[in-house]
């Protein structure tokens, strides 16, 4: 598997993706919740296409900048420039935040969500997922020993991975271009008050 994870993917997964919540929150502030997810995905696409990714000193700040630029472009295209959203001011937030603390909380919550999503899978699907991802049993062996075909093993894994992806992020992370369901946005807006509320805004200069 690791052969398909290029160095840039590793960097993207380890340095860029852990701050997904911060990106989304910031994108919502800049462009509204309707457009936020799409803007984040577009920023991701720009970041993962970088040739000189290794030179990026602060991947999180870089991604935030990309989100900001995309947000500004869209606002210009829409000929509406609501400066009251405080785009320039918000840019400084990137530096002010405590990225590590936020990312740690996110990682912990993600593990909880992944665990819950796996636990909620149908029994055979869950069994296959646990055997592959926790017991590290090769797909061929799972197939042989459960008396099912490799393609059935794959189907279970696809189903399980989709469930975990959906649990980890807004569905827009999975199917590009689709709108995040309201329900999820509301849950996140209301449910993650405490640690997710973000640091107090500070104006530098």
């Amino acid at each position: 598997m690791t052969t398909h994870v290029r160095p840039i993917d590793r960097w993207f997964i380890d340095e860029v993706l852990p701050h997904a919540r911060a990106y989304r929150r910031q994108a919502r502030r800049w462009a509204g919740s309707e457009a936020a997810e799409d803007i984040v995905q577009e920023a991701y696409a720009r970041v993962i296409a970088l040739a000189n990714w290794a030179d990026v000193a602060n991947p999180k700040a870089y991604t935030m900048l990309a989100i900001r630029n995309i947000a500004i472009d869209r606002l210009r295209q829409a000929r509406v420039i609501p400066f009251d959203r405080g785009i320039d001011a918000a840019l400084f937030d990137v530096e002010d935040q405590q990225p590590d603390a936020l990312a740690r909380i996110t990682a912990k919550q993600e593990l909880e969500r992944a665990r819950a999503a796996i636990a909620a899978l149908p029994p055979q699907c869950r069994r296959v997922v646990e055997l592959r991802r926790i017991e590290n049993c090769p797909p061929r062996e799972i197939a042989d020993r459960l008396g099912i075909s490799v393609s059935t093993v794959e189907k279970h894994l696809v189903k399980g991975l989709r469930a975990v992806l959906a649990a980890l992020a807004a569905p827009a992370d999975i199917e590009l271009g689709s709108d995040p369901p309201r329900e999820y946005e509301q849950r996140r807006a209301s449910g993650d008050g405490g640690p997710m509320a973000g640091p107090p805004r500070r104006r530098n200069g």
Partner: protein, 306 residues
Amino acid sequence: MAVQWLVRLDAGTADARAFEVWRRDPRHAVAFAQAQAAWERMAQSASGTEPVRPAAPPASFEARPSRRMLLRAASIALPVLAVGGAAAVLMDRSTAYAATAVGEQRRFSPADGITVELNTDSRIGWRQSGLGCELWLERGEAALSIESRDGAAALLHCAGQAMLLAPGSYNARDDGASAALMVIEGRATVRGTATAARPGEAIRLEPGRARLIAASPEAIEAAAAWRRGEIVFNGETLGAALAEYNRYLEHKLVPADPSVAALRIGGRFETARPEAFLGAIESALGLEAVRRESDVLLRRKNLRPG
């Protein structure tokens, strides 16, 4: 798409070139990286648990408390580091053992659909996991019968090799010097290889090596005979025959000299009646048995001179 690509790449069923073409689109690359991140979270969701896949059961069960008794250590848990909520997703890892004393045979069922007949002086361990039954033949000989409604296989470890056993019947033997698994019915596949034995074939097991061989008619007959309490010789040397019969004997039969060991023997004998076997040898081969403290010496009868 990203999820399917990832799962198929993981299973080795994807066209890697087509995947790279697909991934050229940065949005696809992002989706793939996100799927990969979730895939990694799945493995971490049982945080602190390393995959526990021992090649052999723990060696801590050295004592053979009571002979002539089926030993079943109910729940010798393998060391598992379970942290937090990880325990909920772990399989049952308890390992049990059964052993037979010299001359003893046992038949039992370690798991649903699996029957084990354990020959003399043998020991086998087993464990149930989410994958079904996993067995370790530590020494001796076992006949395994595997039935399962859904076609699930069992995993047998023997002489350092792991083999997947499809529903069927098998004979596994490891006498220290050599080891082999014979397929009577079903199909045995050496894990991680294409080496697979069909009925009438056997897998010769050597450290780091597994070789497919044809099972001789004698070997096939012998595998069936011991389960009836019989042992069959077809012109083997007495040395080889005694070694075989001695597996069932506390007091071993020892040829007095190489010329005695080179004699040939044929016939069907009962493993539980050594006296009858001894009597047959004495009369057929002109030998006499001399009982000594810890074994029985077989020598040519002293013909009175003149």
